[in-house]
Symmetry: C2
Subunit: 289 residues, 2 copies
Amino acid sequence: MQGLINLERVGILGPRGTHSEAAAIRLNKILSLDRELVICAGIFEVLAAVENGELDAGFVPVENSLEGSVNITLDTLARSNSLVIYREFIWTVHNHLMAKDGVKISDVKKIFSHPQPLSQCRKFLQQTFSNVELAETTSTSRAAEIAASSELSDGYAAICSERAGDLNNLVMLASEIQDNDANRTRFFEVRRRSTKKSYVTTGDKILIICQIDGSHAGSLCEVLKEFAFRHVNMTRIESRPARTELGEYIFFFDLENNVDRRTLNDALGGVKRKSIWLKDLGTFPVISC
Amino acid sequence: MQGLINLERVGILGPRGTHSEAAAIRLNKILSLDRELVICAGIFEVLAAVENGELDAGFVPVENSLEGSVNITLDTLARSNSLVIYREFIWTVHNHLMAKDGVKISDVKKIFSHPQPLSQCRKFLQQTFSNVELAETTSTSRAAEIAASSELSDGYAAICSERAGDLNNLVMLASEIQDNDANRTRFFEVRRRSTKKSYVTTGDKILIICQIDGSHAGSLCEVLKEFAFRHVNMTRIESRPARTELGEYIFFFDLENNVDRRTLNDALGGVKRKSIWLKDLGTFPVISC
């Protein structure tokens, strides 16, 4: 019982069976962590529950290689003073065609899924199911539920994660049907800054958020120079509205932790002097799968 | 009749009564243009119809001061070789509370709108309607339709544009109810590159899209230096996934047309040499309202 009581509670975006849950389960397995995954209504709700201490950690998507940034994650991190990034997980999105046991590929008359997987599997669908009706659902989990509750004679199938299919007792008709192997999603595991284990200074990457006075080429270039001449590698720059006035932005810099701590601190000090404000969201390891 | 036949056809995002239509009508009025506004199913459809010659121009949102970039607009422009920006229009979003004639403020029992205006009018709603039920709709136009088709005794009202209210014969209960005056949206009027009147070299701004070899601080800084040391002002930088591999990006640079053409061409030449590819989306005037 002791172990059960002490299980860490990690918030994820629901419903069960989505790629968020599949990724969180996979991360737990890779790291041999026994943690409870708590379904929340949305990304904002996950992060708010971590901030107010209801949850030990949150596991939220931050970027997809095809769709780009997850804005609600970036905006919430930028506005919080208490959240830090504990680790990053890069997850390759796998889509499968699944149906009730007894439905064969040749029986399929209608395929359900979220618009994103439907678009990501377009080539497969055109080649194999050019005359089959496609129907959009609010999530891949919902698509799996619809397939599960249909009659065999309906010929319904769903494009979903293996986890969603398993939860609904579906069987695999075709696996890995996505057009593009580069469909990968980055997740952040986020914790409160105050918790002792949440903040480390070793790791693969650093996330910095800052607002620069004037977003013109000169001032941004001055900031980038602080990294460049110290050979701090930047893997990503992203801007989001400062929400004060059109034309004012905050910047997200993903940095590699590839220099010694003193040089890095010098770079951050330099950026801070050239910024209206700067937040260091922590140094964290990157796990890829 | 001659005039009617020659009316330019400009594609906009539907349905009628949305802020896109309200902005397009306002722009026509400011410039004294007599043009037909053609409702399209989505932003991609607007731009595709301009590309294939079905429409003379497209009028699409590109950025909101609170919500950030409109990704489908950026991604479609980046992938097209035939579209250029003809003008930019900056529109201040106005939200109003409107209802059927006969419904008074004190009668209101339920307020309908799209989630975005509901969130943008939160303070007003909390102060004036703390006990009134709020209901989400797919668009502000839909909210106006629901209010219009209700019984007076229902006490339904909608948060919508004045145009949506007018189309549904609603009257104004409270005007300009948004919390933040900084809620502004940038629109691009887009045309085919080949049409003679589409491409000018005078104007207020220039949009450049390019993919830089390696998105690390050093290479981006090298590109920004091409603008900075020639005093070309950059008003915005945005990145989007290159859709090849996680961690590869294309960049959008909004530049002020504040130097002579030769200096600007030198800067673009310098950026081009440091890029995998570069597209010049044109020089265009900015109209603000």
